[in-house]
């Protein structure tokens, strides 16, 4: 198994005729994804690498089962596109677009919650269950994706799309495959946090351990630490914390929109402390992650 997506998952691409979406569609198809349609208003009747383009999401959902949607439209149209997917019953939405104001992100998440749906992102590269399917730009072209990702038992969660692949590539080189890797997004408010993915990994028999990439800013790591302490998780976790230099530079924004030290709880020092207290191992280097995971998996046996 895996979480969120597998080889049977059907999805659509909203904004499919855009430059980035065209690439993403080809890369996902090459990796084996079941893309059952695309949407760009006014472009009905075209096709993108054999995927039919429609004006409305309902034109596709009326005909076939649609499990998910990758939303790849400019920031000012994103909320509308996500609402359209939600109101047509789609339950898993990957929002690739970055630079969406927080209010609109909150509105999407609130409606998703009312509709029993899940949003991954925004400002993310999506989801990959290696050997099964991918949904989003994660890993890039299929050939590159196959070099970096391999099927296995490590769940990966990352606030950085690029670092999702760096970690997977490091794990693969060490002979450790991945169950599912999720690029959760770099914004201050995102659809699904580490703690919200944990129950899914916990319930997935394929997943034996978790690797996490983390950054300064926000309270997501504290939330994860609390979740671990409350749920007696079976999964050993190794986290890497980037941006340690930012602790000395409060108020400065580096990297992703969500990455800013606004208070003590946002600092890497505080996050590392909380994660360690919850039993999460914190790696000093990305290259230490495989060994640390192996040690912890050894203890579990």
């Amino acid at each position: 198994m895996s979480i969120l997506i597998n080889s049977e998952t059907t999805f659509i691409v909203q904004g499919i005729t855009g430059r980035e979406a065209v690439n993403l569609t080809r890369e996902n198809l090459d990796y084996g994804a079941k893309i059952v349609g695309g949407v760009t208003p006014g472009r009905a009747g075209r096709d993108v690498y054999g995927v039919q383009v429609y004006d409305c999401v309902r034109d596709i959902t009326a005909k076939t089962r649609v499990d998910g949607s990758v939303v790849c439209v400019p920031p000012r149209f994103t909320r509308d596109a996500v609402f359209e997917a939600l109101e047509n019953g789609i339950k898993l939405i990957v929002v690739v677009t970055e630079r969406i104001p927080r209010k609109e992100v909150a509105q999407m998440i609130e409606l998703a919650s009312l509709r029993g749906a899940r949003i991954i992102g925004p400002n993310c590269l999506g989801i990959i269950s290696p050997g099964e399917a991918k949904m989003g730009g994660v890993g890039g072209p299929a050939a590159n994706t196959k070099t970096a990702y391999s099927k296995g038992s490590i769940g990966v969660m990352s606030r950085s799309g690029g670092m999702t692949t760096e970690i997977a590539s490091t794990l693969t080189a060490a002979g450790m495959g991945q169950s599912t890797a999720v690029s959760i997004g770099g914004d201050a408010i995102i659809g699904t946090s580490y703690a919200e993915l944990m129950p899914l990994f916990e319930a997935d028999p394929q997943t034996k351990a978790i690797a996490i990439y983390s950054e300064p800013g926000g309270r997501m790591e504290a939330e994860l630490a609390e979740w671990i302490q409350q749920h007696n998780s079976r999964l050993p976790i190794v986290a890497f914390m980037a941006g340690r230099f930012m602790d000395e530079m409060p108020g400065m924004r580096f990297g992703h929109a969500g990455t800013i030290v606004e208070g003590k709880a946002d600092t890497t020092a505080e996050k590392i402390k909380r994660m360690k207290e919850a039993g999460i191992a914190v790696a000093e280097r990305i290259s230490d992650i495989p060994k640390m995971l192996q040690e912890r998996l050894g203890e579990v046996k």
Binding site: N23, R76, R99, I100, P101, R102, K103, V105, A106, Q107, I109, E110, L125, G137, G139, G140, P141, N144, T145, A148, R159, S160, G161, G162, M163, T165, E166, S169, T170, A173, G186, A188, I189, S193, Y213, E215, G218, R219, M220, F240, A242, G243, R244, F245, M246, M249, G251, M252, R253, F254, G255, H256, A257, G258, T259, G263, E284, R285, I286, S287
Partner: protein, 401 residues
């Protein structure tokens, strides 16, 4: 993007929030004029994008216009939190009966906006929350439902406020929520919101932060408030080097090659992407290196854009070498970055093989990229060398140079 107090108040005034009489002075003479017009004792407040004005002595009272002029000269030069004053706000001073706090911000965990209210305003709200939790309420509200006054009412009543005060505070606080949502703010705060001895409720001090992502949508407001697009309003003003970095990034819409932050070291960095840059900057420092800059490249920038960024970094005095490093890339092409940095070195009059201490960008189009690097005798490595070790190789070259 933080607003000055006078800008925050100008925004509040547009929405009918009650404010004292005031004026923004840019000279002692001007301060005297404003105090004269107000015709009663005033408070003079330094306009800086930083807290701690009171402690720094940059907020003072004056009973007469002449005293206001004198205090202008006294507080204008004071540096608060590393910031120079932009101007001095001269505002009527009134006897206060009670101070309140009202703030609206985002709660990233609940993914909702939250209204924070306290009947113990005037001091740091986090301190109040720790020491007097029953005097602080936190009320989350929907971003989908219309904002109606019951949100503010519930928040205020939760701190024990009732009677006329509750009914007078409710519309003020409800308007603060409207302003927060309408202008895509990340913080809208009134501290203190006061009841004067004469019974009026007045916004004494306010603080507004707008989300950088929403600046374009609110261009009209920003223009009317006099906030130019060049004002980044970061924790410190941008250096010339950083402004030039932003120009490089704006010169071409394809990909990112910017977000430059200047540091005082000697190793130039061309690094990416978002998370990779944070990881690599830490790696250089923990290996004993001294970065000359932070930056980000990603999203497949053009050859020219990478070239211009390289030239900018190499133009910084004391920078003889650069390290070009990223996480495994999928979207950005290795060969295009390789061409860009080599071109940048050559155009800066430097030998790429001497100047590029290490090139560690594995991923899409790496074979083509590595061929170009080999041709120019640049030291490069693939993904078998970790980000940390690549940074170490660059730092070692700096030490032996």
């Amino acid at each position: 993007m933080r607003f000055y107090e006078y800008e925050s108040k100008a925004l509040f005034a547009r929405h009918g929030l009650p404010l004292g009489q005031s004026g923004v002075a840019d000279s002692a003479v001007h301060a005297r004029e404003i105090a004269h017009r107000i015709g009663r004792p005033v408070v003079l407040k330094s306009q800086v994008l930083s807290g701690g004005r009171m402690k720094a002595g940059a907020v003072k009272f004056a009973d007469t216009p002449d005293e206001a002029a004198q205090i202008y000269d006294e507080i204008f030069p004071i540096i608060v939190g590393g910031q120079k004053a932009r101007s001095i706000l001269v505002e009527e001073k009134s006897p206060i009966a009670q101070e309140y706090y009202a703030g609206v911000t985002w709660d990233g965990r609940r993914k909702l906006p939250v209204l924070i209210f306290s009947d113990m305003g005037g001091i740091d709200i986090e301190e109040v929350a720790e020491q007097h939790p029953d005097h602080v309420s936190k009320t989350h509200f929907s971003t989908i439902l219309p904002v109606t006054p019951r949100i503010a009412k519930e928040a205020i009543a939760a701190t024990g406020v009732t009677g006329g005060a509750l009914n007078k505070l409710t519309p003020i606080v409800s308007k603060l929520i409207d302003i927060f949502l309408e202008y895509d703010l990340t913080l809208a705060e009134i501290n203190p919101l006061v009841r004067l001895e004469d019974g009026r409720f007045v916004v004494l001090d306010g603080h507004v932060d707008m989300e950088a992502e929403a600046r374009d949508q609110h261009a009209k407001l920003l223009k009317e408030l006099g906030i130019g697009p060049e004002e980044t309003r970061q924790a410190r003003p941008p250096t010339d080097f950083e402004i030039r970095g932003a120009e490089v990034d704006a010169s071409d819409h394809r990909g990112v090659a910017g977000n430059v932050v200047e540091f005082d070291g000697n190793l130039g960095l061309i690094i990416g992407a978002g998370g990779g840059s944070l990881t690599l900057f830490d790696a250089v420092r923990s290996q004993g290196g001294h970065p000359a800059n932070y930056c980000e490249i990603g999203g497949n920038p053009s050859v020219n854009k990478t070239c211009e960024l390289t030239k900018l970094v190499l133009s910084k005095p004391g920078v003889e070498k650069i390290a070009v490093m990223m996480n495994v890339v999928s979207n950005t092409r290795v060969d295009i970055v390789a061409r860009g940095v080599i071109k940048g070195c050559i155009e800066a009059g430097k030998d790429p093989s001497e100047t590029i201490a290490i090139f560690r960008i594995p991923g899409a189009w790496e074979e083509e990229g590595f061929k170009i690097l080999a041709k120019h005798k640049v030291d490069y490595c693939d993904r078998s060398v970790s980000m940390y070790d690549a940074a170490g190789r660059a730092v070692a070259k700096m030490k032996s140079a």
